[in-house]
Amino acid sequence: MSYFNTTKKGEIQELREGIGSTNLRTKKDSMKRVIGAMMAGTDVSSLLASVLVNMQTTDLELKKLIYLYLVNYSKSEPELAVHAVNSFLKDANDTNPLVRALALRTMASIRIEQIAEYMCEPLHRCLNDKDPYVQKTAVLCVAKMYDINPQLVEDEKFLDTLHTLLSNGNPLVVTNSVATLAEIQTAHPETTIFQITPDILQKMSAALSQASEWGQITILDALAAWYTPQSPKEAETLAERVSIHLSHNNSSVVLSSTKVIIKLSEYITDLNLVDKLMKKLTQPLVSLLSSFPEMRYIALRNLNLIVQRLPSLLVSEISVFFCKYNDPIYVKMEKLEIIMLLVNEQNVPQVLNELKEYATEVDIDFVRKAVSAIGRCAILLPGAAGLCVDTLVHLIETSQVNFVIQEAIIVIKDVFRRYPNKYESIIGKLFSKIEELDEPEARASMIWILGEYADRIEGADNILETYFLENFADEPHIVQMAILTASVKIFLAIPSSQPLVQSVLKIATKKTDNPDLRDRGFIYWRLLSVNKDMAKAILNTPKPPISTHKDLVPKDVLAELIPYLGTLSSVVHKVPDSAAPTGQAPKQTSIPSGDFAFQQEELVPASQTQSYPPPTSHNFDAQANDEELIDFGAFGLSAYNTPAPASSGIDLDFLTGMMGGTPAAPPKIDYNFDALPQLALHEGVCVFGQFGQLNRKTTFFLRFKNNSATPITRTDFRFNTNSFALKPQSADLGPFPIQPGQQRDVAISCDFDQSQLKVTGPDVQVGIQCDLGMIMFAARAKILSLTQYNLAADQSKPKASSVKNRNATHSIQNASNFNEFVQRVSSYGFVETNRMVKDGLTAVQLFNEIPALNALLVVELILKDNQAQCVSRTEPEYLAQMLNEELTHILV
């Protein structure tokens, strides 16, 4: 019997009779057919009245079918539906908890306001039912009711009941309460309905260990969204607790636990513990990939974010991201993205072998992406560039597939851009394939190579003429532009090719209707006719190196996305705008070339959008634009040797400060860098450092260790305004790049700058801006490293006596070395301003000053009855505490 064939005429009538039958079997069968018709999309709403008659049945199977029908059709005739209320109310009082819950659940799902009002009384009762099944159902009914009539929920104080239920003994009741409160809070961010107080936190974390997998997700999501730890200790305890759930086989539990742990780790100060927690994430994250394909896709999108946030976490697991032959294309593409995020000098041979394998597969888009990835490896990893180029050449020589060759040539052009004059030996091999190129981009790339290396390619002018000039008028714009530029470059290299360049310029300026091409043609023409040398200088200007950035999501967006792991945001890599439901523009960026687009109303107006470099495959386009600009005439760029960000065009700031060329390797510094304390850990970059003295100058000793997967190509080193008016002399830690795994030891000498003076405390806030973002930390400054060494004793005496305020005294052990103590203090430039020896008492007054701070330092060492004491006095007072601490250090 089929329940789905209901299109016959008179069917509805037949069903009506069936439902009205006195035989229970017939009734049930007819009711099932009604539901079947409903599912098939037939309108059976006209049966509402007949169905309602049967509501009082005691047969549960029939009752469930009727309720299912009511949920679907009550809305079409609310007046009739209200007649069902009495039956509902009766059922909500039934002795069987299943019936009570069913009635309440159905009633709340009907979503008619009048019915909501009738619901209040049974809902109150069911929230306090003795059966937890009824309670958990009732809890969700509060959410349903809030959706229909929020005012009613507030008036009836249901939310207070939910808060009480958070301490219920049944985990499902607790988690449903959390879900309901969280949902209402999300929908109304302006309210404070759900706040995770220490008390609630305790209840949630108790329920976490007992809850079902779904309940765990609810609790973890709520923690990720609203919980901020009050102390590092609290964060530690909770993180340990949550980490148990990483071994759940439900992928969503794993992802939700991961985001909570990452979020909490930001509050934990014990870096070892953080490290340990992060290590625990690796394996569970890897196993997300063993789920079914659609789940793998979600997992990969999330892993992409996690890898960007914590690059070291999965770098040793790169082989799990290698594509399987039968992975769906969307999985392969995502895997390739992650492989490119993880590739480094160590694993690049393995990765290249894989990419080469992918280049033999059938799916065109995937193969192209794989080939272009080989080029990206070359650009990212200078050490592996040779290997990558070999792989590309191998592909060009052996591949029988046309688009592989074309794609390879496109990326080789980029490799040439990155490493000028390094791999020109392969040019011959490229030109053997010149006839097979039919795609505009591949042709344009080939022409660019031809122009760039015109002086080294035999007969470059003939090649251009033979292969590219014939159909100049029909070529796409990009190829025409390339031909124009290349012909000028060739002429500059081979003066005998003048007829060629003239004919090209003529076509470009006279026979084209493309204004770009014509304008460029005119400029070249004039340039060549006015001054050939200048033309040469302009056209052969070194181009800005191609970008080595592989970060796709900007740091601030990334940081905001982490608490949303597992949600839609993490899949589309966009920050949700739930924070601005009232129509204000969301503060976040939108992705220009995303595969998904949020609904138009959610899009940020263009003027408010700060866009960031578009994902990978688009990078080269942006660079191509740069290159066009340069070819066209970026004057005086010859000294430009810092990488420009891919998409921002040419930043003129560089001209002001960075003309100096590559800094020389730093001289060997006589300092034990291994003893430096660790100050910060950021994205895999580890910073050690402290203030000290080098050649009697205040110096910041810094060890910069790059454990991330990204080479560091630039740094900027700054102090915040501080109590000592300190300012670093040099701002970068060159020479660059600092490769992953490398470390750099530098001694940064510091100057005094009054504009930097602001009394804050003994710590100096230090910021290092690098490729991976801003690294911030605080370093304790040392007063004794700021002192003077050339003081005259006579001038110092009155100053010393002017310091009046007296502060801490501390006794010194081992008084027999009294003279040595005096020596030690003097070694910091202190001069002796007073000495008194009388009746077994020896007192020595030592003085120093810090002119930049108008600071006067007085240290008095007193020896009496074999008891040594040290008294320090300072002006201004805020230095007293510090001086005291440092003295303790040198005297003990």
Binding site: F4, E294, M295, K324
Partner: protein, 438 residues
Amino acid sequence: MLSALFILDETGKPIISRDFRGDIPLKHISRNFINNFLEEDDNLVKPIFIVDSITYVTHKHGDLYLLAVGRGNMNVTTAMVMLGKLVDVFKTYFETVSEESIKDNFALALELLDEMVDFGYAQVYDPSALKTAVFQQSRRLTNVRAMPPPTGAVSWRQSVPPIYYEENKVFCSVVENINYLVAANGTVISSEIKGSIQMDSQLSGMPELHLGLNDKLAFHQSSASGMDPNTQAANRTIDLEDVHFHQCVRLSKFDTNRTISFIPADGKFELMSYRMGKLLKPLFSVTSQSYEFEGSRFETTIHVTTNFKQKSMTKTLSLLIPVPSDVDTPSFETTIGVCQYKPELNCIKWSLGQVNGKKTCAMRAQMGLPTMSSSKPSAVAPPIKIMFEIPLFTVSGIHVRHLTINESSGYTGIPYINYKTQSGEYLVRQDPPKIIKP
């Protein structure tokens, strides 16, 4: 949370649907799904997409599409897991989950959904817990009592009324799926064991089970806390990575003293799953050499060697060897087993049956090629796939030491323990055929 859930047939037509929240007009969902998923260009298809601010989460199962839709920044991972697990639950009720079985059991499916999901939140997903609350008869289940499903701390097992079996027994099988990707030259590109312990509990009351595994098991979670790799090698421990447990296992207890103790769910369930990466030697070594005589014939020779210990024996072993399309008149020679040409897969299936360890078998196939071919000689050689099953053998060496059953009534249950190693996805890449011009 989900707003609604659909089960669609292969053409995108809804078979059943359930609206949980009423915040989405359901009229166009099916059409949007067809336009943006089924008829979308292959390269642009994503399992998650957004149309008109509504998020679509899709999961394909056989000839069905499961589709969850929702608004706002929903937790799509949860939605996807819910779809995946929905299929699992349906399976225990209707054996197979297909268009036909859903149509036959649509009322039951709807009733199940009603218990499993409320207002878009997953509630009770445990098949054994659902039994008492569902009345529609499927082809397998009869006689239910009207009881709410358990929701308490032991939500996976009903306590009232107690479960009763005439004969108390529990089956425990350790199943390891072996995934390998081997390059043509024999080097292992990636490898992993995905093992699981599958339970089938037929025990009365509320029994407490303790499962003991080899002492040498090192769970990866602990090795994160700094175990010395040298001592690990010396003890020859089995290093399990990423262990996952069924929710019945007391994780806190496992965390403190490494015992797996649990009150089992009733019937079949997966107690634990684990993963082991970076294996040593592949179970099978395969070499293949193929020639394509352009326009006349295609020849391939395959050698396969079993590397596991000699006394183990495969229950089944077969290789799927891809060949060019449009071949004809195949002829085979084998040292063991039989070959069959499968034109629908463009493959030769070589079935070897029972093979002991440390043996080498060979196969040679010759097939004609069309003399005139529009396509160029195929430079692509898809990987060879190996399918096998080895009973009473685990690659990892994991071993159940004891399985004790304690129940307050004091009956003695009988544990049955079984081991099996089988192929997950065992692929061996091959070099493209050497092309010999006529």
